[in-house]
Amino acid sequence: MVDDLLLISPLLIVTVMGLVSLLVGVFAPAGSFKGWLAFLTSFGFLAALGACYMLWHETSAGAAFSSQSFHYSLTLDHFGLALCGVILLGALLATLTAVHYLPAQKSDHAEYYALIAFSALGMMIMVMAADLLTLFVALEVMSISIYILAGFKRDSSFSTESAMKYFILGSFASAILLLGISFTYGATGTISMREIGLAVAGGDAHSELALFGMVMLIVAFGFKIAAAPFHMWTPDVYEGAPASVTGFMAVGVKAAGFGALARLLLTCFGAPEYRDGSAVSWETLIVILAVISMCAGNLMALAQKNLKRMLAYSAIAHTGYLLMALLVVPASSDGEQALNALGGGLVFYLLAYTLANVAAFGVAAAVGARGVEDAGEEAYAGLAGRDPMLAFALTIAMLSLLGIPLTAGFMGKLTLFGELLSSGGGEYLWLVVVAVVNSVVSAYYYLRVVMVAYMQDESAEKPIALLKSAPLRVAVGVAAILTLVFGIMPNKAINASTRAGYSLVHTSNPATYGARVSAAKPAITSTVEPKDVAHR
């Protein structure tokens, strides 16, 4: 029992921290500075990161902890741990940007930090969920917390409106998700992902119902990860929500959504007829979503003047690139290679994306904190003169999103595109070309930000004071430095990501997990050794 609790220690730590800050907040006098709670929660995130790190080394590659105590509702593998790490890192840095931002927005309430912790908890459970019920509850824990956070600036009609929009569309998407779960359950008679996978692979599932369910699940997750055409909420919500919240949800929801979607598709619908190129496969659907997302996101970002809104469209474009990572598995042939596929593209790209976005939204929080509602162009014009450090971090973030060499974003694109090319036998060369063309188009709007920050004078009529906040600067600085570090020496991170991808492919493949489910052995079960994925 205690062993089992150790296995989920990252989740427990975050839960406890959320509860503690909720309680402490109740006793803190109204109107007092609540920023210190941010340090408490950040400490919790840091401790949870440490726990993830320890668990990572406890697990042998390709295997998963599997515990009876939770009725197989969680899969604790390297993939889940890696994404938990990414989520926690994003949450940690985003929390620090809020310390002085919230008081400046006159929204300094203690609940903020509790909600951040709870939604991070939801995200972490999402990427570990092993059955559809856990997945649904985790997703709701995350979503409901974020609805509230989006509307946290109660005095602002923008913030409230964005929360309401997100809420209506989000609960609609939840209903679609539930319908998908229901159909999948109806088709197979179980809500355990592995058993669904076995039923589907064994041909025991009602195939029409299963297909319906699969499409609805993809649509619902497409909504969460902002894939076009289910992306419509993104720009409005990103723009209206407080910048510190947008930064957190841009990275966290995306990581959690992609993690859950990848696990769901591979575990439940990993059978060839559901994934390989035919008309009824998710591969085809994902290709279409990927192309629409990157093209629509980039095109619409071209005309944006508001930093937050531009980043929202950029988020849609990046969803397009990230969706390509899911194609690596179906693209590789069956057998040995399929077992080693997925690779590091997904996790590493998410890491790079997280760092760049935290930095960018941190800057958006700093420039848009006072006077103006949002980060329009005039807010960061001439930033280089007012605050070289923030301007530099913003530049690094933009270059990383654009994919300029020596930034993490470049390595992410290279890994992702390279893997797709080498595993698919050239089948997806065209898609890679589309993605590269898109990333070149994106130079127009990413560099525009840099140009405005460096080459324009700040607007004379309404000079905007920058938010003075040491924690924010630390968070932005750390994100920018890590972006460079992972761009210059990414090998360890990429190897870890590859290990994570490898472990997901293993824990989701009926051929490798079938035996373990019946063994019903608690604690650590390790059967398979990695097929030299990490080191060639």
Binding site: F136, E140, S157, M164, F167, F172, A175, S182, F183, Y185
Partner: protein, 111 residues
């Protein structure tokens, strides 16, 4: 399973009927979300959607003769309550700003 129950499930209404009702409910809910202007009615439509899904879960649970569907339904009901609480609070917030709960009054964020 007792013989009595087994015989009951044989004579019971077929699965497809339940599904048909559920899908009709789902369609009603969807149309409500898409067309009704009052935010409160939109929230109610979302509830209809969730209950439509609950119905399918129960129908499938009976069909497969296991408890998974029942469990999910309980959770859905609980989550729906939480969602409704947040939703109503947001409607109040919107009303404070717009003096109206019309969904089409919320178009400050666009393009």
């Amino acid at each position: 399973m007792t013989p009595l129950l087994a015989s009951m499930s044989q004579t019971a209404i077929p699965l497809s009927w339940y599904l048909a009702v559920a899908l009709i409910l789902f369609a009603i809910g969807t149309i409500g979300v898409l067309t009704r202007r009052n935010a409160l009615v939109v929230l109610m439509s979302v509830e209809i959607l969730l209950n439509a899904v609950n119905l399918t879960f129960l129908a499938f649970a009976r069909h497969h003769d296991n408890m998974d569907g029942h469990v999910v339904t309980f959770f859905v009901i609980a989550v729906a309550a939480a969602e409704a609480a947040v939703g109503l609070a947001l409607v109040l917030g919107i009303f404070r700003h717009n003096r109206s709960v019309n969904v089409d009054s919320m178009t400050a964020l666009r393009n």
